[in-house]
């Protein structure tokens, strides 16, 4: 049976006892199961409708992190002062206003698409996901939640309760989404970057690239290799930086773009990010 739970506990109880798909904003799952006009949506499983689960609609600022409840809409995130600017930049480019009023980051994770724009920034920011079940909670880094296109490690009895963004300041951030038009477009490729510099020396450099592999690309060992470089050194070696990602940038041809373009643009964006530091 389909359910509209009134509390998180009730929701988790359903998940424990039956098999459900969770529907938050529904903007993704409604389409994946699209049927015909004037007929009910032919979902494959029973549905757990959590859009009105107000308990999970919150943004809370803690010392170490910002906590975003699973049914918080993108629009509310845009309005909140503590939501990191780079996440806002990404959200502003997700679909249009109507969708941003209902869609959620949790749904963006559940969607597990390599071109998901919110997820790109979650990778960049080392987000941690709180997965809750009737038996308790676990906190998992974003890259361990998503494993491939449409694939994730959320167990059938679990759901996303919260997204935690560590509070961290960067000297410089970069976000570029490349879609077919200026709004309302799925990413052909995308890149988010962040850097912490101290006295002109790289303390930390992060790069996340979307839509070029089965998941968002982020490689900590490559990033570590830039640590300690002076900015001049880094810029002088910009080609090497791009080359380091070569084997990870494995895009495909599809109805939106082609592999050659995605690859070239990813390289160009890595370069653009480094050059603007």
């Amino acid at each position: 049976m389909n359910k509209i739970p009134e509390s998180l506990n009730e929701a988790l109880q359903y998940l424990k006892e039956g098999t459900y798909d969770v529907l938050a904003g529904g903007t993704d799952i409604m389409l994946k199961n699209r049927g015909y006009a004037e007929a009910p949506v032919p979902f494959k499983k029973n549905m757990l409708y959590i859009f009105n689960l107000d308990e999970l609609r919150y943004i809370a600022t803690h010392d170490e992190h910002i906590a975003i409840g699973a049914v918080t809409s993108y629009a509310s995130m845009l309005r909140h002062p503590d939501v990191p600017d780079i996440l806002k930049r990404s959200i502003r480019q997700i679909a249009g206003p109507a969708l941003r009023h209902v869609a959620t980051l949790a749904g963006n994770i559940g969607n597990a698409s390599p071109s998901a724009d919110g997820v790109l920034v979650l990778y960049l920011l080392d987000a941690r996901i709180i997965l809750a079940s009737a038996d308790g909670e676990r906190e998992v880094p974003i890259e361990d939640v998503i494993t491939g296109p449409g694939k994730h490690t959320i167990r059938p009895e679990e759901m996303i309760k919260e997204i935690r963004l560590p509070r961290r300041t960067f000297s410089n951030t970069f976000f570029k989404k490349v879609g077919a038009r200026k709004a309302d477009a799925i990413s052909k490729t995308s890149l988010a970057g962040a850097a912490r510099l101290h006295d002109n020396v790289v303390e930390e450099l992060r790069i996340a690239i979307g839509a070029v592999n089965v998941t968002v690309v982020r490689d900590r060992s490559i990033e570590a290799s830039f640590k300690g470089l002076t900015l001049e050194d880094l810029k002088a070696r910009v080609d090497e930086v791009a080359a380091a990602y070569d084997s990870l940038i494995r895009p495909i041809d599809d109805q939106r773009s082609n592999a050659r373009y995605r690859k070239q643009v990813s390289f160009n964006l890595i370069e653009a990010f480094i050059r603007q530091l």
């Binding site: 509209i4 529904g26 389409l31 979902f43 679909a95 206003p97 109507a98």
Partner: protein, 157 residues
């Protein structure tokens, strides 16, 4: 089937329909409110837009379950307001209407924008309309109409 109660154009209504009906179909077929149109059926065009708690949403990708307890205003409800009169007049005067199929959705988008930002810049208007496709007008006259409504309706939003 399940009973879902919500506020529709100021009145409480209860419908007994599968929770997985698209809200657009509930409006158009069950409730006979055909002001929201189906243009794409996939959240892309905004023809099916209504206000949910005062903000624009696309009903073709909104299941009936999601409106439980919420406040919904469709163009049929909105057209009884003074704000609508101002928008309608501005749309007429600026020649913003061609085939008209996108226009109820544009009005909803305009209300959603103006209620948050009564004095929007052109860029803010373009952003607010970016999920509403119009194939006839090239948008400029719609943008001019919203600018005009913001001015003529000063104080209303």
């Amino acid at each position: 089937m399940a009973e879902v109660t919500f506020t529709l154009n100021g009145e409480e209504v209860t419908v007994d329909k599968p929770l997985n009906m698209r809200f657009l179909d509930v409006l158009r077929t069950t409730l006979d409110l055909t002001g929201a149109k189906e243009g794409c059926g996939e959240g892309e065009c905004g023809a099916c837009a209504v206000l949910l708690d005062g903000r624009i949403v696309d009903t073709c990708i909104l299941p009936l379950a999601s409106v439980a307890g919420r406040d919904i205003v469709t163009i049929e409800g909105y057209r009884t307001t003074e704000r609508f009169q101002v928008l309608q007049n501005a749309f007429v005067k600026e020649g913003a209407v061609q085939c008209g199929i996108c226009i109820p959705g544009m009005i909803i988008a305009a209300e959603s924008l103006l209620s948050e930002n009564p004095d929007p810049s052109d860029d803010a208007i373009r952003t607010a309309l970016s999920g509403n496709l119009c194939r006839c007008t090239g948008y400029n006259m719609i943008i001019a109409a919203i600018r005009r409504a913001a001015k003529e309706g000063e104080g209303l939003w």
